[in-house]
Symmetry: C2
Subunit: 292 residues, 2 copies
């Protein structure tokens, strides 16, 4: 398998899906839809939606049935970035090498574009699948995005920034909820579209959690060791903000080791499905080796 | 029927529903859940969730089956108020006679509490009903809350504030989308829980749109004629912001007349259902006569 070519194909599918399944920029109010598409179309790794498609493919879904689910996950991820970048949160000017939404438009427009993307994710799931499948997808995504996962992780992340003594346990809570929950949901949503068994869905959730942890730890490592031009976002931000990161708590060497362990665990968990997971395994390896 | 007693009973049900169906304040992260409950428990008219319960009762649902749907609608309404009050939007310090969420906590917490309430609404629907009903409820609420309704109306409202020459047509777009869509969805969601026919759902949507227009016009009238102490929120804000309101475009007398016409239309539309709509009709009359 040519991983780079396969990845390119999947990313192209995701981007076609975004174009298909998100209102056109000139739909009234045009400013809002333009802002939604500005952030959605800014590129990025497309990791989460590609995981949805790849997991669905493992269960035999090769056509575009998983595309609305993939786009819904990317809408939720993009909303969380837009809100995270706002002045009252991380106050970031740069994202994926371009001005953040509130810099390109204004704060109110960015806030509303995020709100609209989150809402659109659920709308898209509800109208794209038969009721039973749609409802499982909505329940899975809403749980992963809610106050006890994604938003809860962001809240704890902010609180950890404010206190000097955030613990390793706080950090695990943040990583599991802020990052791993949506990655885990991405795997599971692909499985739901592929009508995976409950046992297989459990393995998909588990593999997603392991990959998500690895992914976030590598993010912390890159923030500490890379530069803004390479990252396409502000580097060294965590240390500057006095933020408790995996690197700060455990050191660089241990962080790299734990990331590697979790990548390996994710591969092993996927192996339990007994299906062709070569693409996802190569994706995990490429994530572990990434420089941005 | 003793309207005041019946209204009190329905509001009490809603408040019990909120307590039942929203995570406890001490759930981690406690700050986030405390902020969600702070805004949800601030009181207010509970118009939208009461409409859900009342519409469901018209279709024979007297037990608590409609309660999660009612709470979901109130979560969406409350999220929209929290985000609307933020400094980058209306920058309001007072809501329902208490400090707004970002004043009581901080901007980041208010932003995240709104995000979490929106997400919780869909989660709650997905886990509380059989898949077919849940999916219709999610689709209805997501459409009404999305970029072409609630959020779209908020965007156009902001844009109208910025331009001197917002038209009567702009204003209709704003009212229909910012206010009427969720009120319309509230009626419809009650009907969905009550397994109303498609034709009856159409009448419920229509009545909700008419009531929603009346409600928003009365809001504009009250903003122009009442005081902050009576309203429990900042009065005269629209004129001060140079905002295009129904009163500014059409004058006070015409605004009152159009509100009254829409209230009457809503009553007439409900009449087409051929069910006992006395409570909702009395509710419409009380909304038309309200002073806050």
């Amino acid at each position: 398998m040519d991983f780079a070519a396969e990845m390119k194909r999947q990313v192209a599918r995701v981007e076609r899906g975004i174009d298909l399944h998100v209102p056109r920029a000139d739909t009234r109010p045009a400013r809002l839809h333009t802002a939604m598409r500005y952030s959605l179309e800014a590129g990025g790794k497309r990791l989460r939606p590609v995981l949805v498609l790849a997991a669905a493919e493992m269960f035999g879904v090769t056509e575009d049935a998983a595309l609305p689910a993939a786009v819904a996950v990317e809408c939720v991820h993009t909303y969380s970035l837009i809100h995270d970048d706002l002045p009252c949160m991380d106050n970031d000017d740069l994202r994926r090498g371009r001005p953040t939404a509130h810099k390109q438009f204004d704060e109110a427009t960015a806030l509303l574009a995020g709100d609209a993307l989150l809402t659109h994710a659920f709308s898209l799931l509800a109208i794209s699948y038969d009721p039973k499948m749609a409802n499982r997808l909505v329940a899975t995504l809403a749980a992963a995005a809610g106050s006890q996962c994604l938003v809860g992780g962001q809240m704890e992340d902010l609180l950890a920034e404010r206190k000097a003594n955030a613990t390793a346990e706080d950090l695990d809570f943040i990583h599991l909820n802020k990052t791993a929950a949506i990655i885990s949901a991405s795997f599971a949503m692909g499985g739901i579209v592929g009508e995976a068994t409950d046992e297989d869905l459990m393995f998909l959730h588990e593999a997603g959690r392991q990959l998500g942890l690895a992914f976030q730890i590598i993010d912390d490592v890159l923030d500490a060791t890379s530069d803004s031009a390479t990252l396409g976002k502000t580097a060294g931000k965590d240390a500057k903000a006095g933020k408790t990161t995996y690197v700060k708590v455990h050191g660089l060497a241990a962080s790299r080791r734990v990331a590697e362990e979790n990548s390996q665990r994710a591969r092993a968990t996927l192996g339990k499905l007994g299906r062709d997971s070569r693409f996802i395994e190569a994706l995990i390896d490429s994530m572990a080796a990434r420089t941005k």
